[in-house]
């Protein structure tokens, strides 16, 4: 069992609004902030919480497809734009599709552990509303294997991938209970989002959320087994936080009570050219969670806050099973039990998750960690979870592509 050779902390989290359809102020015809504005807003939001930005040693930024969405590459070059003190500091951009944010977290963590840096500013960003969803689907399909999958693939490539998983799952475990679990997931996520002013669904006013979630899929216009409520939205946004060693926290003037500690992690990569072995399971997610449990000696019973990658409602349910919170085939029942609600035993995605908060793809993993900081340090305001002292740990899982690039991290409040 590997152990960290020193303690690594996270603090100074900041999320921008997740912007896109659903936000009242969003108008596709009006000009919007560009990717650099999101990066600087998030970065400045984070460094406003430390004493002096010159004490930041490095920067890491994650993003998926700015090269196509925004015709912009070389994103690490925006880090010095956040603050002049960051000019000439080492900076790195990482990419792992929707799991990019998870990679930013591990890269920053490893950098601190390497002793080459005491503090790392970690960012994640995506700006997707530059193109219509139908063309965005082409871009996002890059998270799969273009050569073997795109031509055969659906117009809505990724929704169809998870729709296929849902289809097999329905057959195995029954349509009704699964569909119901998915609709309840939607309902829980939107209710959470309504408590989070930065969530894309904050202003959602649908009266009958469960009813909306039960809308029958329309394969002619969309995909076979999912409706639009099953899908996270197209989002623009960015998140930022700071990784630091013990020493680093001091340099930045961060009080331990405002920080959380990484107690373990699991990182897995699966072969992109292969189809999932079993569509009803997220096997890579399962491996990554198991690694994190092994490293820490912890298990699901110790987790009092869960952040999973619910790009689709079905994915949320599969993730509950993969991470060991429900037995295989019982994820929907767990959602139905109410245990994943914000006031339940295992509060899951209290800020709204990808379904309710939004999914600025390459930034989502960082956003999940920011929410863990806010929850564990008691700064989540409207969507604050009461952390059960018997379950003081938070688990987050960042997933890229069709369960290919996965990072799991376990945190606790710093002591």
């Amino acid at each position: 069992m590997t152990k960290f050779r020193k303690k690594v902390y996270l603090a100074a989290g900041y999320n921008t609004i997740s912007f896109g359809s659903g936000r009242k102020e969003f108008n596709p015809k009006k000009a919007r902030p560009g990717i650099e504005q999101y990066i600087t807003e998030a970065g400045r939001g984070s460094i406003a919480q430390i004493s002096d930005p010159k004490n930041i040693d490095e920067g890491v930024i994650s993003n998926f497809m700015a090269a196509r969405f925004c015709k912009q590459g070389n994103l690490a070059g925006f880090i010095p734009e956040i603050d002049p003190a960051l000019e000439y500091k080492p900076s790195t951009r990482v990419e792992g599709a929707c799991g990019s944010g998870g990679l930013a977290l591990v890269t920053s963590m490893k950098t601190v552990l390497s002793d080459l840096a005491d503090t790392v500013l970690t960012l994640g960003v995506e700006v997707q509303n530059t193109v219509k969803a139908i063309y965005g689907a082409d871009i996002l399909a890059g998270a799969g294997h273009y050569a073997s999958e795109r031509k055969e693939g659906h117009a809505y490539f990724f929704p169809a991938k998870f729709s296929d998983r849902a289809g097999v799952y329905y057959q195995k475990f029954g349509y009704e209970p699964t569909r119901k679990g998915m609709a309840l997931w939607y309902e829980q996520m939107i209710k959470n989002a309504r408590k989070n002013p930065k969530a894309q669904e904050y202003q959602n006013s649908i009266e009958d959320l469960f009813g909306a979630g039960m809308t029958p899929p329309n394969p002619k216009a969309f995909v076979e087994n999912l409706n639009i409520y099953d899908c996270s939205k197209v989002s623009d946004g960015a998140s930022a936080l700071i990784f630091a060693s013990e020493e680093g926290l001091k340099k930045l003037g961060i009080d331990k009570k405002d920080a959380i500690e990484v107690v373990g992690y699991g990182q897995c990569e699966a072969n992109l050219t292969k189809q999932p072995e079993d569509p009803t399971r997220l096997l890579t997610t399962q491996k990554a969670a198991e690694k994190a449990y092994q490293m820490t000696g912890l298990g699901p019973k110790d987790i009092g806050l869960l952040e999973v990658h619910d790009c689709f409602t079905i994915t949320g349910i599969l993730a509950l099973e993969a991470a060991g919170f429900a037995k295989y085939g019982e994820g929907a029942a767990l959602v139905e039990s109410g245990k994943t609600r914000i006031d339940g035993e295992i509060p899951t995605n209290p800020g709204g998750g990808l379904i309710g908060f939004g999914h600025y793809v390459g930034g989502t993993g960082v956003r999940q960690a920011v929410d863990c900081i806010h929850e564990l340090t008691g700064k989540a305001n409207g969507y604050q979870v009461k952390i059960n002292s018997n379950r003081p740990y938070a688990l987050m899982i960042s997933m890229g592509g069709n369960d290919k690039t996965v990072t799991a991290m376990i945190f606790k409040k710093a002591e």
Binding site: I134, D138, R150, H154, A155, Y156, P219, K220, A221
Partner: protein
Amino acid sequence: MTFDERLQNVAIIGAAGKMGSGIALLLAQEMARLKNKPENKDKNYRLYLIDINLDHLAGLQQYLRTQLVKAGEKACVLLRQMYKDREDLVENQDCINQYVEDALSFIRTGTDLSIVKDSRVIFEAVLEKKDLKVDLLKKMDNLCGKDTLYLTNTSSIPINILNKEANLNGRISGFHFYNPPTVQKLAELIFADNTVQELRDFSMELAKRLSKKIVPSNDIAGFVGNGHFLRDGLYGLREATKLAKDYSLPGGLYIINKISQDLLIRPMGIFQLIDYVGVDVFQSISETVAGYIQGEDLEDDLLKKMYDKKILGGQRSDGSQKDGFLKYDKNRPVGVYDIDKGEYKLFDPQGWSGELDKKLGEYPVGFYAWRNLVADLKKNDKLKTFFQNLKSSNTLGAKLALAYLKNSKEIGEKLVKIGVAKTAEDVNNVLLNGFYHLYGPINDYI
């Protein structure tokens, strides 16, 4: 000839107009779909778009390109299936681009009527003038083979008359699209007494292919749709004129437009709708129908005056609304025409129009704007409650609205009685699918 063979060579006359351009888009989509069927690979397709207005023809090409892109974006799931054997088309963007190119490649625009000579089906959508339509139909019949079929989009002229005067021997039918043809779900089909069977079948099949709701209408001037719209509009004009005594004419127009939108829960007020269709179009419908139907006053002085003063409404080529009975800013009414002064009186919520709103009184409990009910699954219950409350309300607005609803219902019943519509359901379907109403005029609410 089969339906698909007919659709290989099609022409539209008046193609740059409001209706013609929408019909062009619908047919281009259907023809592109046919062209991409494996069995049609080697066949040639042609869609001729004829209009006398060169500027509008240029605008039409731009319009078709933009709209085909949008249509391709919406139908991308199907496009990918259609192009599944084209290995070079991988991304959605590739398929959409190809689709637009495919459709545009068989379209030819022009001003010269003679290019239609090989067309197997011709759609006529020029101005609502009988003599013009007859003249063009005759000319085309001389150019084309004797098995060419004609579909006219006339909204009021009896098909029997066009058939007889153009000497078409039953090769004509009324295929009445609604405005805009790409959006409104309705196709009102009208046959002349001797319309040939092949054309009847063709019309039915076309409506199905374009996913239109078919409502048959008997061949009586105005048919069902404009039979209702004309009388409904004339009623509005007369009510406004009556109200002019107490509230001035602009005031009367303001009141009737407002209650006919809000309290009838319709998408637009009646004068906004007349402006949308075009004051000139409305006037020519009135003139035409009045010419064929005796014993009923189907004309109006105020309407004629507006027409003579060339205050015509209608849309600019970019789709924005031109001023008519009402003045518009970004397609929203902001004022009303004062015909005596020859200028628009701007709405003034703090002043005159606010005063009139007060006179109309509070809206009954359970009021919803049309746009808030249109997608509501429980809209029928909500409408029922609202209309009940409307009936028990004593305000000026409620009284005017109730009278308006009653009149609309009577028009509907009359259309069935005089044999224009076959059933009350047909009348209701026309208003539901061609006018975006939430309820049919023949209902139990009133």
